[in-house]
Amino acid sequence: MKYYLYWGCSLEGTGANFLLSLKPVCEALGMEFEEIEDWNCCGASVSYAGASDLAIKVLNARNLALAEAKASYDIVAPCSSCYIQMIKVNHEIKEDPAVLKQVNECLSEGGLNYKGSIKVRHIQDVLYNDVGVDKIRERVTSSLNGLKIAGYVGCQSVRPYGEYDSTVKPVVQDRLLKALGAEAVPFPKKMLCCGSGIFLPEMDYCLELVKTILEDALNHGAKMVSTVCPMCAMNLEMYQDRINKKYGTQLDVPIVYLTQLMAVAFGMDLKKDAALNRNVIPPEGILKEAIG
């Protein structure tokens, strides 16, 4: 199983624990990755302030064209924003072939062309559909033994296209958590947005969103929250002390990437593979207790 891995800008920095844990986990499951050479940023969700919709499409089409020129592997995008920006181009091309013509007119300025043949997949999609829960369950050596985890889906990993999971009642992350031995607690706010890309400039409003999500997870018995998005991880983890100060709450909930939990359940090194030392709110204690 060979794929392109398009990890994007944040997985080299604020989302380092995602990339560090994703690589050994996927390797252990038989996945091989290749980098898209000289990839560029996807533009995320705020570029509209400075760019037209066509420019943002072209930005993403460049990555797709670079990948297509070299091989026909699917692109795996762990960051939800990278994922959505790239599949959006593919969807809009499919809906209207004139879009492909426009995009190619721009790409040709740099000697590139995109035929529209490259599939873009979310990391949850390949784990669930290509690897499968059975294979993941077989690889587990240190079951999470019923640890209560809130699988936070957020927004862009499934919305709007719902390519591999429901946009209304998603199940994939919960099933992956269960394969690791965890108990995926249901919580109604699992799809409420965390503020995403405008968290920083609109923090006053977005702190409230994070408070609502985390309190809902805790009220449903969760000991930690899992995520598959570097923005969700950052927004949910980094500002809990500010929420506590503003609202008088006592939030101190570890936020972990699904791939970090997989590394732990696969019996891998907690530091080198699971990168747990990179979490600001430490999850080690709870995880060590769970695996016994």
């Binding site: 944040s10 705020v46 302030a49 760019a51 037209s52 066509l54 959505i84 405008i198």
Partner: protein, 193 residues
Amino acid sequence: MAAYEPSFAQEVSGNVDFGDEIKMCMQCGVCAGSCPLRDHMDYPPRQIFSLIRAGKREEVLNSQSIMLCTSCYTCVVKCPRNIPVMDVMHGLAHYALKQGYVPRKDTANFGREFWNQVYKLGRIDEKDLPRRVFFADGVVSGIKSTMNFMDVGIKLLLHGRMKLLPEKKIKGIQPLRKMLDKAEKMAKGGGVA
């Protein structure tokens, strides 16, 4: 509701990305009901569509809500008329900024600096971007914002979640810029300064 006045609707339809989608709106309000930041909006999306039809140009292009979008796609999924509401909001915000309106100052600064960096480097430098955003309104507010975010920076640094080296330009930056320049020329309303 105000009387129908088509000139602004035509302007939107012709110059705003996804602007022609507004004609599909049947004013059900599901977009507003589903939005995570609805409580903070002056005019929820449904009302924006209505104001466009009523020719209320100033109200729309000055509206806070067109830039209060977290891009969560809930409205896109929920709209019974399949309007990509989020894309319309982004299109309106882009157009408003181009016309000199600034619906949300901080988000506008953030988005513009984000795009500037993509254009300059081809990638985002997570250290440099907040710095530029903080100092977009001058040195005094820049220092204040930097101090205010010092705790977050230190936490990230101590936990190995800050790329220490500055981000370099991608190899193909020049051809990328040519592609993006061409896209801006061909874009909807590309002729509108």
